[in-house]
Structures are given as C-alpha cells and as structure tokens.
C-alpha cells in the first residue's frame, strides 16, 4: 500500500535532495559543507597534534637526565622549532577556528552553511598543503631551527645556510592565507547569516569569542606575512631588512613578529573562552553571569592584545620610556580576563553544576588559566621580566596558558560536542579518568619549569650539566609529559569506543542552551528544516520558539526548500533581508590549493619562472571558478555578503601595507641620512601628480558604481572603461619608471633600497590586480547585468578606492624623505 507523505515530511525530503552531499572520496574532495570541512580540519589537526606531541616527547626524553644524547643539538633545534610551529599554527588555530568554528558557528547562529562555502573549502586545502609543505622541509633535512618566533639574525642566510628558514617563512605565509580566509568567512557568516531575531544582544558568547579571534587573525597575520616576506627576500634576493651593516634592523623582525605574536596568544585562548562559556551554562543549567561583560571582555582581550607586543622585548635595549606603553597595556589586559574568570566562577557557584567530563576540563582550565595568567602578570614588572627572560619560567607560563587555557577547553569541547558530531555518547568514567590523568600530568610537567626557570635554566638548550640543581625537576617534568600523553591516549580511546559502542545520544543530551542542540545528532546536511526562531541568547531553552519552529515546518514558513537556500539578515539586528542561493560542491578549491602549493614549492627551490607559471595557473583557476554565477534566487536582493567579503580583503591588505609603511619609517629612524649610501632623493612632483591622477579615477569608478545600481549598463561600462584606460596608463608609466630606477640603484644596495622597491612594488601589484579585476568585470558586463555582476562592480569600486588612497599614501611616504 502506498504511503502518503505529510507536508512537513515532503519538505524535509525536498531539503534532503537539495542539500545531499556527493558520496565517496570525490564527495569529500569537492565538499563545501561546513560540517564536512570542519571534520576534515578536525582529523588533519589531530594528525598535526600527534606530530607536535611526538616532538614534545622527544624533547622531554632528551632532557630527562643531564648530558643526555637522544637528540643532538641540531636535531633538538629543529624539533623544538617544529613543536612550536606545529602546535600553534597547525593545531590550536585550525582546531579552534577551523574545526570548532566551521562545524559549530553556523549551527549556533541557525545558518545552513558559511557565507562563502567554496572559500571555506579552499582554506582547508591550503591549510593541509601548508602543513605538508612544512613537514616536507623537515623530511628533506631542511627543517626550520630558529624557534617558532624565528628571530633574526639566526634565521638569516649567513647563520642558517640550509633551506630551513625558507620553508619556515613560506609555510607561515601559506598557512596565514588559510587562516585569513577562515577568519574572514567566520566574520561575514556571523554578521550576515544569523537566524532572523539573533541580534547582537542575543548572540551566544561562544560566537563572540570566535568573532574576536577572527578579527584578531585578520589584523595580526598580515604583520607576520610582511615579516616573512622580508626574511625570504633577505635570504634569496639579497635585500637588507635585517642586515644591520646595511641599515637594517633585527629589532624590526621582533616588532613585526610580536605585533602578530602577542595578539596571537589571545587569539589562541579566546576561542577556548568561548568553549567554556558554552559548556558552563549547559552543566549548571543557568545563564552565564554578566553576559554583556563576558561578551565585551572576549573582544577586549584580543583588542588590547594588539597593544602589548613589545613586552616580549624588555631586554632588547629599547628606552624605558617606550616600554612603559607596553607594560601599561599588559597590566590592563588582565581586567577583561578577570571579568571572565569571575563570570565562570560565579556561574558555577550560583548554578547547579554537574561535574561531567566536559565541565571537569573547564574547571581544570580555570585553574590553569589563573595560574598561567598570574605568572604572566608578574612579567609586567620590567625588572622581573629581565631576570627571567629566556628561562624556563617563561616556558612554564606560556604552557600553562597555551596547554592549560587553550587545549583543556578543546578537550572539554571534544567531549561536549562528541554526541552532536556522532550521535553517540562517550563513556563517563573513562572520561573523568582521562581528565584527572591529564590534569595531574600537565601540572607535573609544567609547574617544575617555574622553579628551574627561577634557578636559571635557559630555554632551548638541548642538554645541561649535572650539579646545577635542575636534575630532579627535569626528571619530574618528563614523567609529567609521559603521564599527560597517557591521559590523552585514554581520552581518544574513550571517544573511539564511544563512537563504536556508545549509547545513542539523542539531539540534546545535555539540555544545552544553544541552537546546535535544536537539531538532530549528527545534524542533517541542511542543518535545520526550518530557519530557527530566536528571541534570546539561549535559544534552545526557549521552548515556545522551538514549538513555533515545528508549526512553521508544517506551514512551510521559513523552510526555504526550493534550492540551496539560506536567509540573509541585517548586520546589527539580524532582521530578515533576502534569500541567498548557496554554492554547492566544487572541485576548484582543491585545484587552486594545489597550484598554490606548487607555487610555494617553486619559490623555495628558487624556480621563480616556474612560480610565475603557477601564479598564472592560479589566476586562470580563479577565472574558471567565477564563470558560473549564482542562480536566480540570489538575484532577488543581491549579495551584500560579497561586499562584506571585499571589506575583509581590504582590511587585511590595508594592514599588510601599513606594516610596510611602518617598516619604512622604522628604518628611517635608524639612519642619520636618508636615503643613505649616495642614493639620490626620489622625485616628488611627477609621482605625486600621477598619484593624484590615479586618485581621480575614483570619480568614474564611483559613477560606475552608481550607474550599475540604477541598472544603467552602458553607462557602467563607459565609466569603468574610462577609469581602466587611465589606470592602465598610470601602471605602464610606473612600471617603466620602476625598471629605470632599478638600473640606477639595485634593490640589494642597502635597507633603504630594499624597502623602497618592496613598498613601491607592493603598491604597483595592487594597481595591477585592480586592472585585472576591472578588465574581467568589463568582459562580464558585455554579456548583460546580473545581481552577481552588480555586486562585483560595487566590490571592485571599493577595492579601487582603497588602492587609490593607498597609492597616495605610499608615494607620499616615499616623497616625505625629501623633507625629513
């Protein structure tokens, strides 16, 4: 007898057909589903965690007794360098933003996917390729060996003739690209794809934490990329950014690195704060205490983190008057951290805590974070910092923060969301046992490091003589390391056992407050059959709203089953705005990542011509990627999320160019005469006039932007063409001039010539990219106007305004030499 489907079931069947992922390996290779991308991130980062953990075990085994020789000094240098790079760039960041962020953020905000699904897949493939790139260097005896912070001059060619530092610099630039794409995607997703009703005062604190971390990455990574570009050029092109004898500076490396590096520490732990603020309400069955202050504190920690970078440089001889700026900011960044600690503690005290394994890890995290935080606070005192600098005291502080405050919540989060991911429950007793072993092991591992640090044991030494009073502490640390490893093995064994034999979890085993628990475990491909109704920050506790969702499903309201559809909401108050037709699986992201990997491979082998070919292949792949435009559903109200994407690009590019301009002025400060070395002063009048002409092209570009919004296609094309002709003329003249100047004085002459050509070259590259984008757009517009092309026109107009202002700033900076 034929069964008749109810309307709700019919809608669900249609959603399943629309959103079903491709099966098999090909499905995983071409997936753009945020959950699958998150799972790919999860397993890949676990592999890197295994590698970083193995490196740690080698180090601790080497240091278990004095005068040990498990590793030689050269191997030890590579192992501790790889350990740091792996744990920071290839485990914690991708595990939090990549795995947890990708999997959970869309579910928590009631979305069906990320704002840019294909870019999301691209970020994963780039991440994977960058990790393989780094470890290929290690396997080919070219592992980096200058620590995770890669200080110059140790990483410059005279001190490190191997390819290790090249792999380091290129791998971090490559990896930074992946993290930038992920962070931009998370920001736009949280700004534009929140379920209607989820205004900023109803956003879960977990999402605030990921928003803060994403903004942090977006603005911090460019400084690291700029630094790594300089290092690569110094090593391979002969520039002198870090060559003191030619006007360069090794402190330049440190300034740029720590401008990235200290916010980075907060970027690592803030997602962990978010995990804590998700787990605590679920296991205390109460709202988090002081929600507004917790939300802002998560953002504030990262923001103030951008003002503390030189507290890593208290022993470099910088005047005290400069250091006080960083001491003050470092002292004050404690306040938002303390706000959160008080909130977590008060929520536990005033709630009804059930100390299941996830909450145990959060309790352990609070202990570790307070411990590591307080020992960080004492480092604000400049004289104390100078005494313990580069000792094991710093290693202890750092690991209490990074392992205790970042990894503990990650473990807690693994247990907490395991039922959502698998539909199964883990086993509670082994879970609790794993926590206590890890907690005991990490404290035994890291606490004695404070003592040996105060006793004077320096960091990064491959062995030590007996009789220094360090022996038993080191033996205890190694025992702690093995205990921790056992605990981690128990943890994963428990999760695997739960996956294979655990009882069914149901959709919401913890009675948790956030929306990911409002759908099945594991969630369907479309996440939610109905876009959820939201009227508080604890949406899954709002039973009336969930009942309303069920009624909506029956009525067909907010089901959006006609395509790969996702509602777009307004940025601040999340009011319903439009319906987007989201892209589905695509082969372009892995292909583009492959060409990028080949490009970086050619660079590290000095095959610059081949690298150029790879760059062309990347560009062609991007053109092919964008041949297929979104369907008619997107044409209803346009794609403002795309404009947000362009804003993210501009923010990131502005920061990297800001780093270049700051480098110019930093090097200027160190020279009595500028330009040094008999280089003639740059011309002023002609470049400034030409920059003014380029700036004037903002007028036709803006007119094109207006015309396209009014639907005047011919006018749009005409304005774009006028601007393009002028821009191309400017570019041709500037390239000619650039080549002439290279004949007058080479890039390798001194630090001035190095930054001069890099700054100017980077600006020209932006102009060139703008010309390519405009030409591509004009070609597209010859075939008519669509919503996609409208948004592309507006986005490219924004890009041109940015480039034009940038050019004036760059030319102005170079011209200012004449008056300074």
């Amino acid at each position: 007898m034929a069964t008749v489907e109810l309307p709700a079931q019919q809608r669900i069947s249609r959603l399943e057909r629309q959103w079903r992922s491709k099966p098999g390996v090909l499905g995983w290779l071409t997936t753009t589903d945020h959950k699958r991308v998150g799972i790919l991130y999860f397993w890949t980062t676990l592999l890197f965690f295994g590698a970083g953990g193995t490196e740690a075990m080698f180090m601790r085994t080497q240091l278990v007794v004095p005068n040990n020789h498990v590793l030689g000094p050269a191997e030890y240098d590579q192992v501790f360098t790889l350990h740091g790079i792996t744990m920071i760039f290839f485990f914690i960041i991708p595990m939090t933003t990549g795995a947890f962020g990708n999997y959970l953020v869309p579910l928590m905000i009631g979305a069906r996917d990320m704002a840019f699904p294909r870019m999301n897949a691209l970020s994963y493939w780039i991440f994977l390729a960058s990790g393989l790139f780094l470890y290929i260097g290690f396997a080919s005896h070219n592992g980096p060996n200058g620590a995770w912070f890669g200080f110059t001059p140790l990483t410059t060619r005279p001190y490190d003739p191997s390819r290790g530092a090249d792999f380091y610099a290129l791998a971090l630039i490559f990896n930074g690209l992946a993290s930038t794409l992920t962070s931009a995607n998370l920001i736009v997703t949280m700004f534009k794809l929140r379920a209607p009703g989820m205004s900023f005062n109803r956003l879960p604190t977990f999402c605030y934490a990921f928003l803060a971390a994403s903004f942090g990455l977006l603005f911090a990574l460019p400084a690291l990329s700029a630094d790594c570009v300089f290092l690569f050029l110094d090593r391979n092109v002969g520039t002198h950014f870090f060559d003191v004898s030619k006007g360069g500076s090794n402190l330049l490396w440190q300034h740029l690195f720590w401008f990235f590096g200290h916010p980075e520490v907060y970027i690592l732990i803030v997602p962990a704060f978010g995990i804590a603020t998700a787990i605590i309400p679920a296991f205390t069955q109460r709202k988090i205490v002081a929600y507004p202050l917790v939300a802002i504190a998560e953002i504030l920690v990262v923001f103030i983190g951008f003002g503390v970078w030189a507290h890593h440089m208290f022993v470099t001889g910088i005047p005290t008057i400069s250091l006080v700026f960083f001491a003050a900011a470092t002292a004050m960044v404690v306040i938002p951290s303390a706000i959160q600690v008080f909130s977590w503690c008060m929520s536990l005290i005033t709630g009804m805590p059930r100390f299941k394994t996830p909450l145990l890890f959060i309790a352990g995290f609070i202990w570790m974070f307070v411990n590591g935080g307080l020992t960080g606070l004492v480092l604000v005192a400049i004289p104390f910092d100078q005494q313990v600098h580069d000792t094991y005291f710093i290693i202890a502080h750092f690991h209490y923060i990074i392992f205790g405050a970042a990894v503990f919540p990650i473990f807690g989060g693994m247990y907490y969301w395991f039922p959502k991911l698998t539909g199964k429950l883990y086993f509670e007793l082994p879970g609790q046992i794993s926590f206590w072993i890890i907690f005991a092991g990490t404290n035994l591992l890291f606490f004695p490091m404070y003592i040996v640090g105060l006793l004077g044991m320096p960091r990064q030494i491959y062995t030590y003589p007996s009789g220094m009073g360090w022996d038993w502490y080191n033996a205890a640390e190694t025992a702690g390391a093995y205990l921790t490893a056992i605990g981690i093995l128990v943890l994963f064994a428990n999760l695997v056992a739960g996956w294979l034999r655990g009882p069914a979890a149901g959709p919401d085993p913890w009675l948790a407050p956030t929306l990911e628990w409002a759908t099945t475990s594991p969630p369907p491909d479309y996440n939610f059959a109905v876009i959820p109704t939201v009227s508080s920050a604890y949406a899954n506790w709002d039973r009336d709203d969930r009942a309303l969702d069920r009624r909506k499903l029956a009525e067909g309201s907010m089901v959006l089953e006609e395509g790969h559809e996702q509602p777009l909401s307004t940025t601040v108050d999340a009011r319903f705005d439009a319906v987007l037709d989201m892209p589905h699986s695509s082969a372009w992201p892995p292909l583009l990542a492959l060409f990028l990997a080949l490009l970086f491979g050619c660079l590290v082998l000095d095959k610059f011509g081949s690298a150029g070919i790879c760059a062309v292949l990347c560009a062609l792949t991007l053109v092919a990627w964008h041949r297929q435009e979104p369907g008619s559903a997107a044409a209803r109200l346009g794609l403002p999320a795309g404009r947000w994407g362009m804003a993210m690009v501009i923010a990131s590019e502005a920061t990297i160019m800001g780093c270049f301009i700051a480098t110019f002025w930093y090097l200027r400060l160190r020279a009595a005469h500028w330009p040094p070395g008999g280089i003639p002063e740059p011309r002023v009048v002609v470049p400034l006039v030409l920059a003014g002409v380029l700036l004037a092209t903002s007028v036709p570009i803006q007119l094109a932007s207006r015309a396209v919004r009014a639907g005047r296609l011919a006018a749009t094309r005409a304005f774009l063409l006028v601007a393009l002709v002028v821009q191309a003329g400017y570019f041709a003249y500037e390239v000619h001039d650039y080549r002439d100047e290279l004949h007058a004085f080479g890039i390798a002459k001194n630090a001035y010539s190095s930054i001069y050509y890099v700054l100017l070259g980077a600006d020209h590259a932006h102009v060139f990219i703008g010309i390519v984008l405009s030409a591509w757009l004009l070609l597209k517009l010859t075939r008519g106007l669509t919503a996609y092309r409208l948004n592309a026109t507006v986005g490219i107009a924004w890009y041109w305004h940015f480039v034009n202002v940038l050019t004036v700033l760059v030319i102005g900076t170079l011209a200012a030499v004449n008056v300074t």
């Binding site: 507004p292 939300a295 103030i304 700026f325 508080s536 920050a537």
Partner: protein
C-alpha cells in the same frame, strides 16, 4: 536629529571612539618615544614630552566624550539587554562601552603620565 537617531549615534560613538583614541595614542605615543631617542632625531629635534602631553590631552578628552555618549545611550533606555532590538541592543552596547571606556582611560593615563615624567632615552 530625532531622539532615537541621537541614541543610535551615542551608542556607536560610545563604543568605537574610545578604543580608536586609545589605539592611536598608543601607536603614535610609543612611536614618538622611539623617534625621540633615534639617530634621525639628531636632525629632527622631536620633543617627546610636548607630543605626549598633546596626545594625552586629545585621547583623554575623546575617551571622556565617548564615556559620556555611552552613559547617555544607557540612560535613554530602561530595557533589559535581553529585550528585542533596538532597545536591548542599545543597552548591551552601552553597558559594554561604559565598562571598557574606563579601562581605555586608565591605560591612556598610565601611558601618558609615565611617558611624560620618565627620563627620555634611558635604556631599560
């Protein structure tokens, strides 16, 4: 300008102006302190103290104005921060701004006063 538009403006002024003022004072202030002790300053003659006083005054004033705007936004609505937008959102942003602006003010004062009274160019 209507009252509601003024409140909308106050919340964003309260939330964004103070951090911008602190960050500008922080970056420019430390840059001037380093420039004042640099090789290039032999010909420039940058007066660290004068610049720091100006920066402190400007940043401090902006933060106080920002705090006043946040307080005005806070007082404009008696709603809970959990209320529907815009009242709930204004309340949330105002609470956040009032709290954080005080932190920025303390950093600016610490930065400014220390860089004015400390001996210039003494190596740490």
């Amino acid at each position: 300008m209507t009252r509601s538009r003024a409140v909308q403006l106050f919340q964003f002024v309260g939330f964004f102006v103070a951090p911008a003022a602190w960050f500008a004072q922080h970056l420019i202030g430390q840059a001037i302190s380093q420039a004042g002790c640099s090789t290039a300053n032999a010909s420039w003659g940058v007066s660290n103290r004068a610049w720091q006083i100006v920066l402190l005054a400007v940043a401090g004033t902006l933060i106080l104005l920002s705090e006043a705007a946040a307080v005005a936004a806070f007082r404009s609505t008696g709603a809970s921060y959990e209320s529907p937008p815009p009242e709930g959102r204004i309340r949330l942003i105002a609470i956040a701004a009032m709290t954080t602006n005080l932190i920025y003010l303390v950093i600016v004062l610490l930065d400014g006063v220390a860089s004015i009274v400390d001996i210039a160019c003494r190596q740490s």
